[in-house]
């Protein structure tokens, strides 16, 4: 039987800033249907890894493939398959919410009907539909985050890469995002996200990786990583080592 292609494959990734190794020989595989959590303290190398996966940041060695395609060799076809949400979504303040969503939909070639129904569905779930006519400059941090999430979901990507997606969201919206993440995976997609909220990671992740000073110190299924302990205990023990 032919082996299924990984949705995201990070192989021996290394990225340095001057003399400092921000990411050191990391290998992660994410398969379709998986929610993969990426945990580490501030400055551990999470954002660098995520940015390298999206092609925003170059890297020194290793390989990153999305659905079998290398991000270095063919960034455009990779980018068509995923969506990225950064930790602080600085969107186009000069656009209204709806203009921004239409801009993203145009870039991904989403049809009029599809974009209309998806915008309606997600904006309704996040209860921001009425605000879509307002300039983004007037949005709160949480509203920008919701808009960034809708924009990411608008073209139904197979892979969603998120950096701290729950920051700034109210509990109800955070719950909706978790639901949406699970729906993506149930439909054969995958999620790769970083978080500091260990309870959330423990609750929703199928697999998890812990990064410390640029090195992957533990990864695998939730059971493999934490055993009988809580994820928080395991994380703190590993951090203390």
């Amino acid at each position: 039987m032919e082996k299924e292609t990984n949705m995201l494959e990070i192989k021996n990734l290394t990225k340095t800033y001057g003399d400092k190794k921000a990411v050191d020989d990391i290998t992660i595989n994410i398969e379709p249907g998986e929610i993969y959590g990426f945990i580490g303290h501030n400055g551990a190398g999470k954002t660098t890894t995520l940015k390298a996966c999206t092609g925003i940041l170059g890297f020194d060695s290793g390989e990153i493939t999305i659905n079998g395609t290398s991000i270095k060799d063919d960034p455009l076809s990779c980018k068509k398959q995923f969506a990225y949400i950064p930790d602080n979504p600085d969107l186009y303040d000069f656009m209204t919410g709806i203009k921004y969503l239409n801009f993203i939909a145009d870039i991904f070639g989403v049809s009029s009907d599809d974009r209309m129904s998806r915008i309606h569905e997600y904006a309704d779930r996040f209860e921001i539909e009425k605000d879509l006519g307002q300039p983004i400059a007037t949005y709160s941090h949480g509203m920008k985050q919701k808009l960034a999430i809708i924009a990411a979901w608008i073209h139904e990507p197979k892979l969603i890469i998120m950096d701290e997606p729950f920051v700034g969201l109210d509990p109800k919206s955070a719950f909706i995002v978790k639901e949406m993440m699970r729906e993506v995976c149930d439909n054969g997609g995958a999620i790769f996200f970083s978080t500091h909220v260990l309870e959330v990671a423990e609750k929703i992740c199928d697999k998890v990786a812990i990064i410390k000073q640029g090195k992957l110190i533990r990864s695998g299924t939730m059971e493999e990583v934490k055993g009988d302990e809580s994820l928080e205990d395991v994380f703190l023990e590993l951090e203390a080592e």
Partner: protein, 534 residues
């Protein structure tokens, strides 16, 4: 604390000189020196050369008839014209619209320090522009007359006073625009209109003064001893430069009083203006079907939305758009008179008139430079374009297309009008003129984008930094003026004897096409790569 704030403001202006965004690290000392040397060459070499030439033409004849004050008054007014131009369009945004307003106001920093640090940034821009006229004027003056310590002090003081006047006028206008924009809904366009109306009023008065000076010059014999009575203000203004103590005291006092008044007005209203967003109409979204657009259309639309959403961007990088219609209207009204007057003045060589028109069009095109700050203006939202499935080259092309369209449309409407009034039967000359004009248009677009990518700075807290004060924007503006003026100076100095205007046009076309190809190749390869790694 004030020192820190001023340092922050100045670092924002000169960041590209110290920091390489592409490599994400500071530049080496050698590179910093080279960058500053290039800037000095641009300022001293090109701008200094142009205004030095103007000063040289005026100085000797006026000094000989003992009208030093008139020389300083003329150069002072020219300096003031440029000083106000350099600072006026960005003062509103520079003073009130910084992204770090909330952060600074929440820190234990006296409010006056925040205002002073921003005023210093406005002053620096005014000084930069006005000094580019007045420093050559001083140099030429002391090359013409024997050295006089008091006159040197007076001329330096005059330069400082001119930049202070520029700052005061810019600040008062910025304050007025801020007041009005708080009460209106369509802020960007209203701000643009209000600013332009006020600027038009300023330049109307300015040119009235220039006219009265010309009138005075024509009738200097009649005016005789009554000079002081007729143009006393200007007389005193000019006398500062020649080292007259009474004039220095009087003008310094007036400028100081105006500065204090401006300070008082700004201080009274700073917090309320910097923290109020003004009237915002709540628009409730009604679901409706949207027509799909191609990737390039979506990107182009986004660039136009960015341009039209910012009064600061429109005023500083799109001023030429309104100059073209002004040329058309002026020609339609006074075209016959103009063509007769210019034809009478330039009878020496065939095609000289077309060369002058070419330079006027080049200068006007140089007032549209949306491409230069467009990369920096992506700011912290650059991750969007970098993570979307669009090639960096496609993004750069759409940015250039905005500038191309903004120039090409009014330019194409202006050329036939100009050619109608300045007719020539020489077809070769005509084709040369048209091709040279469009080659320059392409050059401007590619040149602006080259600097926009090369000196990109996406970490700014005030939009004024990339739009007006940033290295890319400054180089774009000054090089545009410099290259345009050089086109005619080179012909006058070198080409006049050696070749016809027609041949000169074809030489220009050749050089521009060559440069355009080089810039295109660089942007397509290295420029796109640099954009992707910002």
């Amino acid at each position: 604390m004030l020192k820190l704030l001023v340092k922050k403001q100045l670092m924002e202006i000169f960041k590209a000189y110290f920091y390489d965004a592409k490599k994400n690290k500071g530049r080496s000392k050698v590179k910093i020196i080279i960058m500053f040397l290039l800037f000095i060459v641009l300022m001293v070499g090109i701008m200094g050369g142009i205004f030095g030439y103007v000063a040289d033409q005026l100085c000797k004849p006026l000094v000989m008839v003992d009208m030093k004050w008139f020389y300083f008054a003329l150069m002072g007014l020219l300096s003031l014209l440029l000083g106000v131009f350099g600072s006026v369009f960005n003062t509103y945004a520079g003073l009130y619209l910084s992204k770090d307003n909330d952060q600074l106001l929440s820190l234990p920093i006296p409010e006056k320090y925040i205002i002073i640090s921003r005023l210093i940034a406005v002053y620096c821009m005014a000084l930069l522009y006005s000094a580019s006229v007045f420093v050559p004027a001083i140099v030429v003056y002391f090359m013409t007359v024997p050295f006089d310590g008091l006159a040197l002090f007076g001329s330096i003081l005059m330069m400082i006073l001119i930049s202070m006047i520029s700052m005061v006028m810019s600040c008062l206008l910025g304050w007025l625009v801020a007041k009005i924009s708080l009460k209106v809904k369509n802020k960007s366009f209203i701000t643009v209109v209000v600013t332009l109306v006020l600027i038009a009023a300023y330049y109307y008065v300015y040119f009235k003064v220039i006219n009265s000076m010309q009138e005075f010059l024509k009738n200097v014999a009649i005016y005789g001893t009554s000079i002081k009575k007729n143009v006393y203000g200007l007389y005193m203004f000019g006398m500062v430069g020649s080292g007259d103590i009474k004039a220095m005291l009087l003008c310094t006092t007036i400028v100081a009083l105006a500065s204090i008044l401006t300070w008082y007005i700004l201080k009274q209203s700073f917090i309320s203006m910097a923290t109020t967003s003004g009237s915002v109409k709540k628009v409730e979204y009604k679901e409706k079907r949207t027509k799909e657009a191609s990737v390039t259309s979506a990107l182009l639309r986004k660039e136009f939305q960015k341009f039209t959403s910012s009064a600061n961007y429109m005023l500083n990088c799109g001023l030429g758009i309104i100059v073209f219609p002004i040329i058309i209207v002026t020609m339609l009204i006074k075209g016959t008179d103009f063509s007769k007057a210019i034809a009478g003045a330039f009878t020496g060589k065939t095609g000289l008139i077309q060369l002058i028109i070419f330079v006027v069009l080049c200068l006007t095109m140089s007032m549209i430079n949306t491409g230069a700050p467009s990369v920096s203006l992506e700011g912290k939202s650059i991750w969007i374009l970098q993570s979307l499935p669009v090639s960096p080259w496609t993004v750069l092309k759409q940015k250039m297309k905005v500038e191309l369209l903004l120039i090409a449309v009014p330019l194409t409407a202006t050329i036939p009008v100009l050619l109608f009034y300045f007719q020539t039967k020489n077809i070769g000359l005509l084709i040369g003129f048209v091709l040279a004009t469009y080659s320059f248009m392409m050059f401007r677009v590619l040149w602006d984008m080259f600097w926009g990518v090369k000196l990109a700075n996406i970490n700014w807290t005030n939009e004024t930094a990339p739009v007006k004060q940033g290295a890319a924007a400054l180089i774009s503006v000054f090089s545009g003026m410099g290259i345009s003026a050089a086109a005619i100076l080179i012909f006058v100095v070198v080409g006049n004897e050696a070749m016809s205007v027609e041949d000169y046009f074809y030489a220009i076309i050749g050089i521009l096409i060559f440069l355009n190809i080089l810039l295109y190749i660089w942007l397509r390869r290295r420029g796109a790569e640099a954009f992707a790694r910002l």
